[in-house]
Amino acid sequence: MATTVYDAIVVGAGSVGMPAALSMAERGLKVLVIDQFASPGQGSNKCAIGGIRATHSAPAKIMLCLESLRIFSTWEQIHGDKIEWVQGGYCFVAYREREEQVLKGLLTTQKAYGLDIDWYDAAALVKIIPGLSLHGLRGGTFSPGDGSASPMLSCLAFYRRAKQAGVEFRFGERVTGIMQRKGKVIGVRTDKGGYASDTMVNAAGAWARSVAQAGALDVPVHPDSHEAGVTEPVAQFLQPMVVDIRPAPGSHNYYFFQHAPGPIIFCITPDPPVVGTDRRETSTFLPMVARRMVDLMPILANLKVRRTWRGLYPMTPDGSPIVGKSKILEGYVHAEGMCGQGYMLGPGVGALVARIVTGHTVDGDTGVLSELSPARTFGGGEALK
């Protein structure tokens, strides 16, 4: 049995677990992070394409991502690590009345939260996205404050800081049990040993449900998979993330942006969803996404695809994350079900987790925690996912 007693154990060294561990260590806690993979970010973090936006429609996500944006955008100045942050903005394009209505309808809520976002007509939008097809273009929204960074580099930057702040790591260990006594967490058991703590944060992403089940809990997190790709690097030509939310046979929305080192990174949401944890590449992805991208921006046709991969979205029934203390098992903290937005939510959620664990939540947290409550009734869905 372990001799060290940790103040908190985080399961998952990815987009959410890594900043959560760092935030807690910065508040003076003795933290242990356990991950099933060999190194940080090897679950879904490295599969994220790197978009970071606060322009959501659900208030909790807006608040959390505003905090994330602050952390990502100032990281390099404060800590000196290169995470390839670029403030290129996000553009949602509309080619049909339906999408125009949806996007315009959201502007009211978004502006109410102080977000810098506006509607641009077709002529104005092609100045922001040169090369965008004008054929049927009605216009779109642009939010210049959003941006992108490298998920892998930021996860590894958080990792480096976390180690400096005293966080301990156990890689290549799978959680097999949550040790409990009288309804309280007392530690975590893995396939290689046991670790003592009265607090456990489940940040296991797509694997959160099986981790919860190790403690006889259940969380409604069911992963599905999306495929993404990256091209050769070319000279800078595209500033914002371009999002097309129209459905098409076989797919919902798709989106792409030019990453700081020069490549276009792109991703598509399959329809129907591909449920499960299968991360193997399929033959359907490239033809599906390529035709839609080339129709939208013909100039992309000659850009060469370098690599493709498949990553997991830990989905919840209503498309919103689950964050907060468990009402069933004392000491268990949910940081689960980021629904494919773990990377952009991560630093915000991590800071919130640290406030929850240390008992220092602030006024603004109350609304967020109620919206993301593990005890909520899961129904409905978010307009803009």
Partner: protein, 710 residues
């Protein structure tokens, strides 16, 4: 202007075609018809193709095989691998020295649906293994699709101007590789059930058991019942100072330039590595009129066939065993190479450095199998077989034979009534794969009468065409094993010279004492152009190991048809050393002299990842912080993230772990992702490029067409 084209060659015919004009940095140059951009640039004396965006380092070719991306240039506005794209008339080629601009597209694009085609057996690679398998499959009537990324079938056989080892019946021993390629192609083309897609690349094996193929610019999805991976091998890279300088490249790349494209890319070259690839490349260089300054091998003995090594010795090429390269020197291109002796723990011994002037350094330190698709197909449950180097690195003779076996096995697996693979086939395959055996002392006959062959062949290798060719059946191998050494049965020889001509090792001479016991006429095989030797010349003859025996007159030079481009040179030699003669010196000893001045070791960092220019130092320091996952290393440094798709550096990174005392069992390997090479997004969208067919005609069955778009 200097001419870097080969205008005469002892073996290869020089094609006649009108020159194709193209532009390099606005200057008009000329290519041969169908020539790859890289070769055309080399032929015009251009070896620096661009500069790396990270540190402005000059870059040129490394693999000339589409495997790395070091040779990238801009061609008509598109960034391309110059070794894989042919010159088009009027093409504008520019160096690639910055991130390219987003390439332009035609005003109106038309689209074709992405086809899925079904085949019984998809063969990846039309080289010795793939073609040999296809022949067996064709005989059994199996529907076969061969996909190959080059413009001509044959794989690396088209570079092999030398005669093959092995046995005549198993693998065309005694015939040149280039001719074997033609024979196999003719056989394959004779089967109706076999279809060939050239200039087509398999991009990925997907989890839904389909294979993505870029067919002459158009994307096709292939659903095979069985996959045969015969994709061959790629050359290993080596880490040393200056290893990415233009002028440092693979021995295979060199053979491609010289033997396929008839470019003379070098005046003076040095070879690193004494395996068969390095030894043969050095020989091909001599044949192309290039000086070979030397060859170094880290082991105490060359790993390649002794007959290959002996050939070089005899031609005057110094071979430095227990030596390795220290640095490639030069500011923009290679100007010299520094080598040093190694101690038993593989470290170079200070003070033993020697520097040789040269313009080219060939890296021939072994091959890695191109087995990505073999592994993926196994992982994804697609029935798959491997043949040739993709399965196990060995000689092309072995590749042909394993291909033949796999062909039969696949036909059987597909329900054809072909019977079992004969057990002796498996035995032959193993024999052909065998490493060279021990060296024995040469048995030199002492008689001074009659006519007889002398075998300067003293190492057991899988080779026996001399025994098959002798019309008198007077050459035997003990126990009839292909691996043994040949011996001559007394009094059987009629002096026909067939054995001299067919020996792939040029290790047989014919000694004729029929005109007297004091002096013999010795017939020596000589694979150089006729201009190099004529009747009446005095030549220096050497023994097997390259020791000088003396100067003798040439009495006759013939080019009999049965010798297949080799010259039969007769010299008059005194009886004291007539039987010892194994060859004629080609290169003067001064060629291999080191420079007087010692070039200082350049303290630049040694590059491990060529695409992203990540140094050994960066990687070592991360290993020392406790990093054990190559994926994390990739995330931090971009090593393995570049344009080659992580095909060159992972093994070098693993070597650094070992050097740091980390067992590889502790190290997590890189996750392999599609695609095997970069392909335009438009190809997956179905953009019609006009470069090839977009639909296939029967008999390949079309399953479904996926229409993308809104």
């Amino acid at each position: 202007m200097p001419d870097f084209r080969i205008r005469e060659h002892p073996v290869l015919a020089i094609p006649e075609s009108p020159p194709v004009p193209f532009f390099w940095q606005g200057r008009e140059l000329f290519a041969r018809e169908g020539e790859m951009i890289a070769s055309a640039l080399f032929a015009n004396g251009i070896r620096v193709f661009g500069h790396h965006t990270k540190d402005r380092a000059p870059l040129g070719i490394f693999c000339a095989n589409g495997q790395c991306a070091q040779c990238s240039v801009m061609a008509d506005g598109l960034a391309v691998k110059s070794c894989m794209v042919p010159v088009k008339p009027g093409m504008r080629v520019e160096p690639l020295s910055d991130r390219p601009l987003l390439p332009d597209v035609p005003f109106e694009m038309t689209f074709h649906p992405i086809q899925t085609v079904e085949v019984e057996c998809l063969v990846l690679g039309g080289g010795p293994a793939g073609l040999s398998a296809a022949v067996e499959l064709g005989k059994a009537g199996v529907g076969v699709l061969i996909v190959d990324d080059k413009h001509a079938l044959g794989g690396k056989l088209v570079l092999q101007t030398h005669k093959f080892f092995g046995s005549i019946e198993a693998c065309h021993a005694g015939t040149r590789g280039i001719d074997i390629a033609e024979r196999l192609e003719n056989e394959v083309r004779g089967f109706e059930s076999i279809r060939v897609w050239m200039d087509s690349v398999a991009l990925a094996v997907f989890a839904d058991r389909k294979v993505g193929v870029l067919r002459q610019g158009h994307y096709v999805v292939v659903r095979p019942q069985v996959l045969l991976v015969a994709t061959g091998a790629r050359e290993k890279s080596l880490v040393f100072k200056g290893n990415t300088l233009p002028g440092v490249y693979g021995a295979g790349a060199f053979q491609t330039l010289v033997n396929r494209d008839l470019v003379r890319p070098s005046e003076r070259l040095f070879v690193i590595g004494g395996g068969n690839v390095g030894l043969i490349a050095a020989y091909h260089a001599l044949q192309a009129g290039i000086e070979v300054v030397g060859l170094c091998e880290a082991l105490p003995e060359c790993g390649g066939y002794k007959v290959h090594k002996d050939k070089l010795h005899r031609m005057g090429v110094p071979i430095y065993t227990s030596h390795s390269v220290v640095s490639a020197n030069g500011s923009k291109e290679v100007e010299s190479v520094t080598i040093a002796r190694l101690d038993p723990s593989w470290r170079s011994i200070p003070g033993t450095e020697r520097t040789f002037a040269c313009d080219t350094i060939l890296v021939a330190v072994g091959l890695d199998p191109c087995d990505e698709f073999l592994k993926k197909a196994k992982e994804y449950g697609l029935p798959v077989y491997g043949a040739g180097d993709a399965e196990e690195i060995a000689e092309a003779s072995a590749a042909m034979f394993t291909g033949k076996i796999r062909g039969l096995q696949i036909a059987k697996a597909l329900g054809r009534d072909v019977g079992e693979v004969p057990p002796e086939w498996h035995k032959t395959a193993e024999v052909l794969k065998s490493r060279p055996g021990a060296t024995v002392t040469e048995e030199i006959p002492s008689e001074r009468s009659g006519v007889f062959p002398v075998f300067h062949c003293s190492q057991e290798i899988p080779c026996n065409p001399c025994t098959s060719i002798c019309p008198q059946h007077a050459i035997r191998i003990e126990g009839d094993e292909i691996l043994g050494l040949p011996t001559f049965v007394r009094d059987g020889c009629i002096g026909c010279e067939q054995c001299v001509a067919i020996c792939p090792g040029l290790a047989v001479t014919l000694v004729d004492y029929r005109k007297g016991a004091d002096e013999a006429t010795v017939t020596i095989p000589f694979e150089f152009t006729r201009q190099r030797i004529k009747e009446g010349d005095t030549v220096t003859v050497l023994d097997t190991d390259g020791n000088v025996l003396g100067n003798v007159p040439v009495t006759k030079v013939r080019e009999p048809k049965f010798a297949d481009h080799a010259l039969m040179v007769q010299v008059k030699a005194p009886a004291e050393f007539a039987t010892l003669i194994a060859g004629i010196r080609v290169q003067e000893p001064w060629v291999g002299e080191p420079l007087e001045e010692m070039i200082e070791r350049i303290e630049d960092d040694e590059i491990v990842c060529r695409c992203e220019r990540v140094t050994a130092g960066e990687i070592r320091s991360l290993i020392r912080t406790g990093l054990r996952d190559l994926n994390e290393l990739k995330g931090l440094t971009r090593a393995g993230m570049g344009a080659c798709g992580g095909k060159t550096c992972p093994n070098l990174m693993k070597r650094l772990f070992r050097e740091e005392g980390v067992a590889l069992a502790e190290v997590t390997d890189l996750t392999q992702r599609p695609l095997i090479m970069e392909v335009p997004l438009g190809a997956f969208a179905g953009v019609v490029t006009g470069t090839g067919p977009v639909r296939d005609v029967p008999p390949i069955h079309t399953v479904a067409a996926h229409e993308g778009g809104v």
